[in-house]
Symmetry: C2
Subunit: 198 residues, 2 copies
């Protein structure tokens, strides 16, 4: 199973405007595009990938939303994904605990932090790769089974969070250009498909 | 200069609902995501790429919208792009001619057909690559300077249109999986960056 973990400054309440995802949602549009790139093929959901979006925006950080291949009734466009993020955040309003709450269509939300998620994935035996322009070229890196790719939103991952993952993994680079997070996910998925990584 | 040409069933009037791009716009969301993947780096527009979206939906097909590195005041999220597509289609309402009309921010629209666009690009001396699952692997293909990558929306390119381009170029494949068009564009951009293709 491939895993993506997105560290995001996205809003942690449902009080964002679907007609203005970039500003009112603190770049919830980025979260939505990353989910699309990670999970969708042309006419189907991938069966080999899940994505955790860890949200650190106001007012109740952190909240982690998990999209797996088991989700249903979600379309691969920004607004549809954002509607589901809003439903998830609404269901979890006022909560701080770390239990997963599951929506009717399979999307999950909890109060887990980024480090909670990384610890859980480490306990599963996953391998960690942190996307960074100055990492080792992905073409020179062996990607092991059950890889976890960690990346940040438009402002990147805070240093202490990155350092936490790097105790368990390594920095990997797609090149010196700084790409959109969703762009990076597409490229990584393609490379993993090509190499037959599970 | 890299060029993408997207053959789309997108609507050719501005009468679509910004709150329902997939249905009311005949997958204008796909067009928007392709434009984002083609033109944006993390915090800047690429200076090396343009994208033509050729729309064949009702009521006034065809219409071609051209996004170049000269565009201004466009944000890389689906709704922002769709707002500009709506403005372009509104400006061109009722017209059938092939002159380019330029919006205040540099986006262009005309009544050019897919084959008109391909002919113009051939006159510029471009090389043509048609995305297709059963094409030759992109890793075995030399991508020449000024490449044009042609791809379809979720239903693909009509056979006669594909045949027209294939007289000037070849089929190229990213693998046997059928990917989202925007996903394909991200992967191609990354490969071209890696190879230093201009």
């Amino acid at each position: 199973m491939r895993t993506f973990v997105l560290w995001s400054r996205g809003i942690t309440s449902p009080d964002f405007n679907l007609n203005d995802l970039p500003s009112s949602g603190k770049r919830i549009d980025i979260v939505a595009r990353c989910i699309i790139s990670a999970l969708w093929l042309s006419h189907a959901l991938r069966r080999d990938t899940r994505i955790y979006a860890v949200l650190y925006g106001a007012p109740e950080p952190p909240k982690t939303v998990l999209f797996t291949p088991e989700i249903k009734r979600v379309s691969p466009d920004e607004r549809s994904i954002a509607i589901w993020l809003k439903k998830a955040l609404n269901k979890h309003r006022g909560r701080r605990d770390k239990e997963w709450v599951t929506l009717s269509n399979g999307i999950k939300i909890s109060g887990k932090s980024f480090q909670d998620v990384i610890k859980e994935l480490a306990d599963e035996g996953c391998s960690f790769y942190v996307l960074h322009e100055r990492g080792k070229s992905i073409e020179q890196i062996e990607i092991k089974e059950n890889p976890v790719f960690v990346l940040g939103d438009h402002k990147g991952i805070p240093k202490n969070e990155e350092a936490f993952v790097l105790r368990k993994g390594e920095r990997v680079s797609l090149g010196r250009k700084s790409y959109l997070s969703s762009f990076c996910i597409s490229v990584i998925q393609w490379i993993c498909d090509n190499r037959g990584i599970k």
